[in-house]
Structure formats: structure tokens, C-alpha cells
Symmetry: C2
Subunit: 347 residues, 2 copies
DNA sequence: GCGCGAAATGTTGACGTAAACATAACTCGG
DNA sequence: CCGAGTTATGTTTACGTCAACATTTCGCGC
């Protein structure tokens, strides 16, 4: 009695009954297999038959059922992305790139955001993705510290991590944080500043850590004094709070800030205190957001190529998915210094 | 030729063979159906049996196959999102909210970004989503103008649109653009400014249109002169370019800008020209981005509750999916004025 | 102690697709 | 004009899950 059409002719939810291959096959007078061949663009179909099937597909509005397709083939043509919220500028930009590259390759994106970047949250999200029919996973989490247990995920699914820590058993793609931080710090030293204060991102962030480390090493290499690190949380507000302290210290003439938003807050604090930028204090940020060229003054900053990172991540993942063996490698995309007006020679 | 499985017994890609219900059933010594019942938390299973099945699941690492489940049930527990790139602040924030609400409801998100917001691109994306096993679609496109042919999508799938135009045959959720624009304009008039110049978003944007219209109507209602509209493209750069023109006009004392980023550019242009904000020119933005309280001066702006919008959109969509009939209604989330330091009384 | 119903569990089949395996039709060289 | 090779098409089956139906087990009232 499985035949529904007989008993319930007017079923509102009957729309669920989609047009299937069998329907097309019947309409075109061929077998389902031939429809399948046409749908998948196989060559061994008579042009005339192909046309007939195409016509039937169009008139019936046939759309292949991806669930069935996935069940049959084991491929879902979908890539999972695990993100730690969408608030960070860089991650969002990377996601954008990931989305378009994946789309070009015929993959759609399944997005999961996690509240906190703990091991349990991330692997929980991972499990959900694994259940949810994805061929591979991109983990896009700049801020996380998983404690002693490093990222350990259920096996079997290709994974690429976009992050700054090298300790993963998965391929890692990232911007070259250390290069950018070095360029920024050297730029300020080259302008004659005796030392450079650093406003860091949160301690849990590996990206922040690498920038901080490179800043310190650059100062040491130049024989400059290494001031105490100030720690923010990436927000402009935290930059402002820390900036109020900096504004009171006449000895500070150069600040390297770990992202543009905190730099914005810092600059506001300096303005409020009547300290000129770059006259009294030079400021260099990190990210080169779309807005930073319109800060007042326009911000000298480190440009990250998030689009390259996103693209590289997807390419690496697709290679893994296609079985070209997992490359546990590490790809660093170069960063570059963009000099604008917030940095100048020491007064 | 292509057949590899037979010749390569040690196939690295053999991991694709996931643990299935049958494996668990065999391990636990029960039928597949019983496993299914345990997996779905049915009540009519003997506690002891349930425990045995659970143990087998864990030791084998069983994960239900969502493709098979979807094929069987017609439900995918996935919501499609069509976005016009991720560059806009508001859309990204809305997406964030959508992601967490959907996740709470047990749905994952399938994200598709489109390059341009044309009818063909959007419906192309829609078709891809329909193929891609989603239960419903959220269209999150603030900037689009589809010409005379209004958004016409293949039928059968619940849809919610987040946008400012009322002309859809689908439920629409949006921030109350008109309210915000009115509040902003009235605020400036109340401060004593004789008129208010408006920098609009692009003409293709319905959001920009509604803000522009409300600005004009507010001026007219107060009997104020309506200056020519300046049209930007949402970027800070465009705000800067237009701002250079404004800075030369001594008669302009108040500007209502259609988003915060253009306001940032405008303020930079004013600074460059030596015109004080708000001393010479008052500026009000729109969005209340995370950064705008740290602009210099901190920006008076209109706060949009993107999180509410995202949540409302998902709730409406889930209601549709659950068959509570399509509500072709329109939900406006209130906006509010946030007064900071970029606006002040007319000199 | 017999039969009835409830609870626990098993069996069958279908969802839509595509791989593997037929089979039919048609080409072409000798 | 026959058989081998090629191309077009059809048939069967399995993917993993779950609803529907079938069967078994057991408790309990009379």
C-alpha cells in the first residue's frame, strides 16, 4: 500500500515528493540508468536520446537528489568549516575566499560556528560535521588554546587547519605572522624609534603569540630594549583602554599593535590625550582591514592576504580529498608592510 | 580501467567504508532496526539491550550516515544561506546569529556566496542549494536590484528573505531602516542644523533606498530644505571621496551617512580639510559597528540588531519548514539612535 | 492454566542514485 | 556476410536508514 498518490490526492506536504529519475525515465521513455548517464554527462548516450531526456528533465523540473547521490557515491561535494564565531575580520575574509574557491570546484560549504575554542567544542563540531555529510573539514580558528591535549579529531576525514601553530598532524595554512611582525617592528626602528611598545592579542591566540615573539626577537636582534607587553583582546575597546595608559607615558614613541581594530582604539586614546599621531607616537597595526586606510591618520599596517590563505586551504583540502595523500605540510602566505601616515620619524 | 578496488587490497582510501548500522547490529547481536531505535532514542527498547547497543556503537565509533537518513526521511536538517559576499558588516553579523540559532535547533548551515546579486545568480545559487539537500533557504542580500523580474525562485522550498523590500512572496525580516534614518535625521535637526546632507549607499540597495527615503521625508516633514543626495558604495573610500567635496562647502553643517564605514571616510576627509567634527560638521552613521565607538570622534550612529534579525529569520524559516503554513509577513526589528561625540549643536 | 494485550525485537521493503553487469544494435574488415 | 569490436541502452543491486508490518515473549486477570 505504499502508493501514496491513490489515497491522498490533496496533500499539502506532498511537495516533498520530488521529481525523481524514474519519473524522468518514464517521461522520456528510457531507463533510469540512461537518465543517470545524461545527468552526469557521460559520453555514451545517443545525442537524440540525450536531448529527449534533457527535455523531460526540464519539463518535469527534475533536480537530482543529492542525498541519494551521496549515499550511493560516498561523496557529498560539501566541505565543512568550523569557525570560532564570525567576529574576527580575518576569519571572515578567509571564509569568503574559501566559499568562492569551493564553489568554483563544485563544493558547497557547511558552516558550523563554535562558542568557545575548546577541544571539546571543536571536536563536538567536528563530529556534527562528520555526521553531516562532508568530504573534508577546514578548521578556521585563530584563537584557541586547547591545553595539553592537542587538537585530536575523530579520524577518517581530511582536515586542513588555518592557524598559526605548527603542532598539528594536519596540513596548516596561514599568513606569515612572524614576517609581518618583523617588518612592522623594523619599520619603526628604522624611523629612529629607540624601542617599540607592543599591544598583543589575547594570550590564547597563536597568531598573537607569533606576532609577539617576532616583535621581541626583532627588538633583541637590533639591541633595542624590550618593553613589557600589553595584552588586549582584539577589540578596539581594549586598544583604547590600553592606549589611555600609553598616552600618559612620554617615553613611548612607537607602538606596534597586533591588529587594526586595537590600533584604532589606541589612536583614539592618543587623540583624547592630545598626543599627535605620528608626531608624538607612531602606530603600526596588523591586518590592513578595508577601513584602515581611512582611519585618522590613515594607518600603517601589515597586509595579510586572507584570500590567498582561503584559496590555499581549499586547494590543500581538495588534494587530500582526492586522495593525493595527506601532506602534513605548512604553507605560509607572505605578509607585507603597508606604510601610510600613522608612522613617522621620531620627533 | 578505472577500477582500483580489486587490484589494491591495501587501499588508503578504504577508510571511506564507514561503520554502519549493520556493523553495530552484528556486534551487539541485535537487528539493525533495534540499533535504529536506540540511535533515535525510542522508548520501546529493553534497557539492557539499549546499553549493549550503546556500547557497541561506542567501541565501533558508529556515526549515523546523514545521507541515508536524509534519503529516508526527506529531511536534511540543514538550512541554506545565500549571501552576496561576506564583505558587508551587517550581513556577516546576521549570518553569525543565524548560525548559532540554527545550530541550537539542530540544523547546520550550507553557505553559498554569489558574486553579483542578479536574478540569475541568485536563482542559480538557489538551484544549487535545492540540489544540495537543504530544508529551507535564507536569502541574505542587502544589495540587489533584480530589475523588473522580481525574485522568482523554483518552488517547493521554504524561503525567508532578509532584506528591505516588501515586494516578495516570501516572509521578510529586516531592521527598521526607515525608523533609524528618521531618528538620525531628527537628531541632527533637533541640534539646530538647518538641513542635513545625506550620503547614501548604492542605488541598487533597497536598504540604502529606504534610509534615503526616510531621510527625505523627515526633512520635508520638518520643512527643511532637501539637499541633493550623494551616492557612495558603502566603502570608507567612497565616503572619503564624497567627503572631500563636502569639506569644501561651508554651508554643510550636518551629514547623515548611510553606514559607519562611509562615515569613517567622510570624517577623515573633514579632518584633512581642517574642519572640526562636530564643531563645524556633525556626522551620524548607520550600523553601529564594533569599531564606531572608537572612531575619532566616537561616532553617533544608528544601532541595528543584526542578531535579532538573524534569529527571527531562522525562527520564521523553521516554522515554515515544520509546515505551519507560509506566513508572507514582514517583520521589522527596531533600530535605535546611539548618540556619541560626532554630532553636536550647530555652531 | 489459558488467552489476551503490551512490550521487545525481527523482517521486509523503499527512499533515489549509480556501479556493475547484461544485452541489444550497429560498424567494419576480411 | 560472419564474427569481433564498439556503442547505446536496460536490469539488477547495493548504499544506510527507518517506517510498517510480523513475530516473539511475557505478565496478568479470570
Amino acid at each position: 500500500m505504499g502508493e501514496d498518490a491513490s489515497s491522498t490526492p490533496v496533500d499539502t506536504r506532498a511537495r516533498r515528493r520530488e521529481v525523481s529519475m524514474a519519473d524522468v525515465a518514464a517521461a522520456a521513455g528510457v531507463s533510469g540508468q540512461t537518465v543517470s548517464r545524461v545527468a552526469n554527462g557521460r559520453s555514451n548516450v545517443d545525442p537524440e536520446t540525450r536531448e529527449r531526456v534533457r527535455a523531460a528533465m526540464n519539463s518535469l523540473g527534475y533536480r537530482p537528489n543529492s542525498a541519494a547521490r551521496a549515499l550511493r557515491s560516498g561523496r557529498f561535494h560539501s566541505i565543512g568549516v568550523i569557525m570560532f564565531s564570525l567576529s574576527s575580520y580575518g576569519n571572515t575574509r578567509t571564509l569568503d575566499a574559501v566559499a568562492s574557491v569551493a564553489a568554483d570546484a563544485g563544493y558547497s560549504l557547511t558552516l558550523i560556528t563554535v562558542e568557545s575554542a575548546t577541544q571539546s567544542d571543536v571536536s563536538g563540531a567536528f563530529v556534527r560535521l562528520a555526521e553531516h555529510a562532508v568530504d573534508g573539514v577546514v578548521i578556521l580558528i585563530e584563537t584557541h588554546r586547547l591545553g595539553e591535549t592537542e587538537l585530536a579529531l575523530p579520524s577518517g576525514l581530511p582536515v586542513v587547519v588555518v592557524d598559526s601553530n605548527a603542532e598539528y598532524a594536519y596540513p596548516v595554512v596561514d599568513n606569515d605572522q612572524a614576517l609581518g611582525a618583523r617588518l612592522a617592528t623594523e619599520h619603526l626602528l628604522d624611523l629612529g624609534h629607540e624601542s617599540v611598545v607592543h599591544i598583543s592579542g589575547p594570550l590564547e591566540s597563536y597568531a598573537a603569540e607569533r606576532r609577539r615573539t617576532a616583535w621581541r626577537e626583532t627588538l633583541e636582534a637590533r639591541g633595542a630594549r624590550v618593553p613589557e607587553v600589553l595584552v588586549g583582546d582584539w577589540t578596539a575597546d581594549s586598544g583604547y583602554e590600553l592606549g589611555r595608559g600609553i598616552a600618559e607615558r612620554a617615553d613611548v614613541t612607537a607602538v606596534f599593535v597586533s591588529n587594526d581594530q586595537m590600533a584604532l582604539g589606541l589612536i583614539r586614546a592618543l587623540h583624547e590625550a592630545g598626543r599627535a599621531v605620528p608626531g608624538d607616537v607612531s602606530v603600526v597595526g596588523f591586518d590592513d582591514t578595508a577601513d584602515s586606510s581611512n582611519y585618522w591618520p590613515p594607518l600603517t599596517t601589515v597586509r595579510q592576504h586572507f584570500d590567498w590563505v582561503g584559496e590555499a586551504a581549499i586547494r590543500a583540502l581538495l588534494a587530500e580529498i582526492d586522495g593525493d595523500g595527506p601532506h602534513t605540510e605548512r604553507l605560509l602566505v607572505p605578509t607585507e608592510l603597508v606604510v601610510r601616515e600613522s608612522s613617522g620619524p621620531r620627533a
